[in-house]
């Protein structure tokens, strides 16, 4: 898994590529989200467009980031969620807590 970050105004877009499956391979995403919070980012948009799959441990990483950001008064949202991951979010009812968007510009505007 690889991660890149971009700033669009005060929104930080985290582009994730590969698989999110917990364990050492996904420590980078966990650490990236923690680093963003430490530096005071409150609006985080995770781009899952290039994520092939995610398992339940990987969902835990997104939930941890979501919960911690919310605790700090911020928010974590999702964009470009592939159908396979969308199914997973639906059955686990996580689709009721994660705001997700099809288009990046729409997602960025939603933070305003």
């Amino acid at each position: 898994m690889t991660i890149q970050q971009r700033d669009i105004g005060d929104v930080v877009v985290v582009d994730v590529h590969g698989k999110i499956m917990g364990g050492p391979d996904s420590d980078g995403l966990k650490q990236a989200l923690r680093d963003l919070m430490e530096r005071g980012a409150h609006k985080v948009l995770v781009n899952l467009g290039d994520v092939t799959w995610i398992n339940s441990s990987g969902l835990g990483i997104l939930i941890e980031g979501f919960s911690e950001l919310r605790r700090q008064g911020g928010s974590l949202k999702l964009v470009h969620v592939p159908p396979r991951i969308e199914s997973l979010l639906t059955v686990t009812k996580l689709s009721t807590i994660f705001e997700s968007y099809r288009q990046e510009d729409e997602a960025v505007r939603s933070f305003a």
Partner: protein
């Protein structure tokens, strides 16, 4: 123990990076029957969860431990078994519906995900000392291959 002639069996080291192999192999096995993409994806997702559990909770990521993946079936349904080498895994505490209180928990969704995507999920002692998870999925043939109608098993 004798195995059916048409059974595919693989030994996978207990390292999470090989979950991609589990996904790819299971999906390829089901795709050969011309199933709809959702059925193939769901089978792969459940197999990833089962293999994740086997590596982490079964084998506890111990060095030199493996997970065995066995697949058999036909166009009507595929059976996937995933077996670890651990001391046994008690799945019963996780056999329940998720509640609102579970929504933001970081762990504990694996078995729920398997049951949501599969037609059958069962746990039994493995051929060795570990636990064997059996997943069964009845797929739907893609419409263009079945003459315009979707035929579920």
């Amino acid at each position: 123990m004798p195995q059916p002639a048409d059974q595919v069996e693989l030994r996978i080291p207990s390292q999470l990076r090989y979950l991609a192999v589990v996904d790819a192999v299971v999906q390829a096995f089901a795709a050969d029957f011309g199933w709809e993409a959702d059925d193939i994806n769901n089978l792969g997702t459940a197999a990833i969860e089962a293999a994740s559990n086997a590596m982490e909770h079964g084998n506890r990521f111990a060095e030199n431990t493996n997970v065995w993946l066995r697949m058999r079936g036909d166009a009507g349904g595929v059976e996937v078994e995933i077996e670890d080498q651990g001391p046994g895994f008690d799945h019963r505490p996780y056999e329940r519906e998720l509640t609102a209180d579970d929504l933001l928990k970081l762990r504990g969704r694996g078995i729920f995900i398997m049951r949501s995507f599969m037609d059958e999920v069962s746990f039994a002692p493995g051929q060795g000392h570990g636990t064997c998870v059996r997943l069964v999925k009845h797929g739907h043939i893609k419409a263009e291959q079945s003459g315009g109608t979707s035929t579920g098993a």
